[in-house]
Every structure is written in structure tokens, then in C-alpha cells.
């Protein structure tokens, strides 16, 4: 007669956040950037500082190399505030894509 070993199990409850996560619907993405007009918004915490301008210029060069037809550089007044209505209106009428740069 052979002994069968019973492997016991035990349970743990996950402390992680799960379930009922708030869903955010993503806007549709263009299949290509070629020939598009893209806005690049400097939304750095200090938009008057040089870091945001450096990244903004770098992003502009990168996009043009990727075939973007026009880059619209914009600057938010300050990062904690909502985007101004006139900028949103301008984006809606001119841009086919928006890239927001955030940082310190």
C-alpha cells in the first residue's frame, strides 16, 4: 500500500487595486504622421523655462524628419491650469494631431 501525500493549499487576498477601474477612452490614432499638421504643446511646469523649449524644438525636428508637413509649436500659460479655450479652438481648426510635453 502506498501513502498518497496530500498537498494542502492556502489562500491570500490581493491588496492591489483592481476592479471598477475608471476607464478612459482614447482618441483615435492616425495611422501615419506623413503629411499631417501636428501641434506640439509645451505644458512644462515652468513653460517659461528652457527645458520645455529644448524638448519642443527637438520634437519639432523629429516630426519633420518623419514627414509631418507642418508643426505648430504652442505654449500653455502654466501647467496647473486648464488649456485655454482659444487654444482648443485653434487646435480643432488647424491640427490633425497633438503632442503635449510635460515635465519640470
Amino acid at each position: 500500500m502506498t501513502k498518497s501525500k496530500v498537498v494542502q493549499e492556502f489562500l491570500l487576498l490581493s491588496p492591489k487595486g483592481e476592479g471598477n477601474l475608471k476607464e478612459t477612452k482614447m482618441a483615435s490614432r492616425p495611422s501615419t504622421l506623413k503629411g499631417k499638421t501636428i501641434a506640439v504643446i509645451n505644458a512644462f511646469r515652468n513653460p517659461q523655462g528652457s527645458s520645455g523649449d529644448l524638448l519642443s524644438n527637438y520634437m519639432k525636428d523629429l516630426l519633420l524628419r518623419e514627414g509631418v508637413s507642418e508643426v505648430l509649436p504652442l505654449r500653455k500659460k502654466s501647467s496647473p491650469t486648464d488649456m485655454a479655450d482659444d487654444i482648443i479652438e485653434y487646435l480643432n481648426s488647424k491640427a490633425q494631431g497633438v503632442i503635449i510635453l510635460e515635465g519640470d
Partner: protein, 351 residues
Amino acid sequence: MKIGANASVMRLSEQDDALEYCYQQGWTDGLPVVPPTPERVQVVLDTVRRKPTEVLGAFMPVGAEITVEKVAINAVLAGCLPEYFPTVLTAVECMADQEGSMGGLLTTIHGDTPLIVINGPIIRSLGFNAGVNTFGPGWRANATVGRAIALLMRNVAAGEPGNFDMATQTHPGKFTYCIAEFEDASPWLPYHVDRGFSEKESAVTVVGAHGPRHVVDMASVSAHGVLTTLSDAIAVVGTYNAYRGGEVFLVLSPTHARIIAGDGWTKEDVKYFIFNKARRRLGELKGIGYYNIGGETYWPRWIDTSDDETLVPIVLKPEDVRILVAGGEVGGYSSIIFCFGMPATTRIVPT
């Protein structure tokens, strides 16, 4: 109510090391935790008459709902005794009152974290330390209640550091940050009575806070002397408070509190003194610290920003000075805690 109604159930075999499993899942703060078995969580939940699925809030950036059961699981994880649970739950409810502020507090590069302050009879009945070695280790109630909140924030709201929690530097209070007021050593009424509650009630206060800055004054023998030293320590450039106000907690040692009250000063006197004395010349604040960050200054209109000689109050109104008494009975040391991200919120712990 079925345990695990709102939490994934992990099935382990007896060969598995539960503690290592908790590490592998990213559930810990780097220190060992108590594996949250359903039995342990049930014992904790039995201390309150609340449904495990009851939602207390949903803090950004993760945005997952914080249920009573999730709080209980993290309380077990932190090593809380079951009887601490109503206190932990009340602290979470304080944070839920400020749900809109929590996302900023949890994600900022600034590094603040919730400070929990305990008042009332539970200090004694649950064994919170309010005396010697305040802010330090050695007492299970302080250590695990604070840790339960820290783990909950990590596991449910902010995720692992570097993911959403982007603090450039933080302070050790992010492991656990829970103090109690030494009410018997205070010459004044306790803090929660200032907030409109009864001395017979127990209360939890939560506020977004820097680490404590210790201030020594062993020489002063008058209220003016002690508070001049403390005001000087508050009037520093490298804080948000110098540029946009906010609350400051003054954690007075019993020695300093006795000296101040011995001169007949009330807490109101202390608050006005700090408001008037803790100031810096506008010219000293310009161009450094947090000046003009975000493209604007946050000082109120009544501060004359055209004159570099204007004395800018670091605390913009006397009531933003919050006064506690805690620490060992001997020693001319007090602490200043600059607060940011979440205003102080107080709630009664149900008994």
C-alpha cells in the same frame, strides 16, 4: 458577505513561501509583511459593522475603488492588530474627504506623504506612543497604522515608486508616519478639540506632509524666545509654503509647550506670533526656491509684490498654524512640519 468579494484570491500550495510570494507580487514596501489570508482579513473586518464591498473612494492616478475589504487586507499586510482597524478606516475616510487632492499628493515629484495624527482615548486604549521618541520606532500601533495607510496608497492608489509615484526625494515617513498627541503633557486642550470635537471622543487627522524638521532651543526661558527660534526655522526659502502658503504643523515638545503656556500664552497667541514673525523679505524670495514656477506667483493680492522690502508671511493666515504637543517630557526640541497636497482633515473614530 463573502471574503474576497472585492479582491482577487491567490491560491498557494504548502510548498510556497507566502512571504516571498508577497514580495514577488510587489505588495510590500521592502520590509516583510503579514500574508493576508482570508481568515486574518475576516478577523479584522469583524471589528467594524461595515460591508466589505462598501466603497470609500477612488484615488487617482490608478483610480481603483478603495473598499472596506481592501483597507482590511492592507491593514493585515502592515501588521495591524484587529482593534486598530477602525482607526485605519477613519484615516482612509479622511483622505476620501479630500479625494480631489490625493492624486497630486501621491504622484508629485515633491515627495510629501500622509501624516496621521491620533487624539483622544484610543491613544491609551490602543497603545499609541505620544511621548519619548515621537516620530520614531518602537510602538506597534503607530508603526502599523501608519504603514497600513502607506501600503494602501502604494497598492491601491499610486502603484510602485517610479510608476505613478514620481517623488524626486521623499522622507522615511513614507514607510509609516503616525504620531499621537501627548494630551496629558499639554497645557492646552487637545488638537481635535480645536477642531470642534469633544475630549472624550477619539479622532484621526490626516494631512499631506513633509518630514519633520527638528528645532532645538535649549536656551530660551520665555514664550517670545522659544517662538522666535521656531519662527526663524519656519521662515526659510526652500519650501512651497514661502511661495504659496499652506498649513504648518508645530509639534511642540512638552518642555517648549510648558514654557510658552507658562507665560500665559494661548494657542491663538502662538498662531498670531508665527503669522507675524515667520516672514522673509520679498527680495530674498525672488528668483530662487519656488519663485514664479508655473508662470505665476501665488501670493494673495494684499501682499505688495512691487516692493522688495515687503515682509512675506510664510504662513498666510494664523489658523494655518496647527499646534500639537508630543515628545519626551525632557528636552528643548520641537518639530515643524510643512504641509502640502492635502489639507488637514479630522474625523471621529467610531467606538
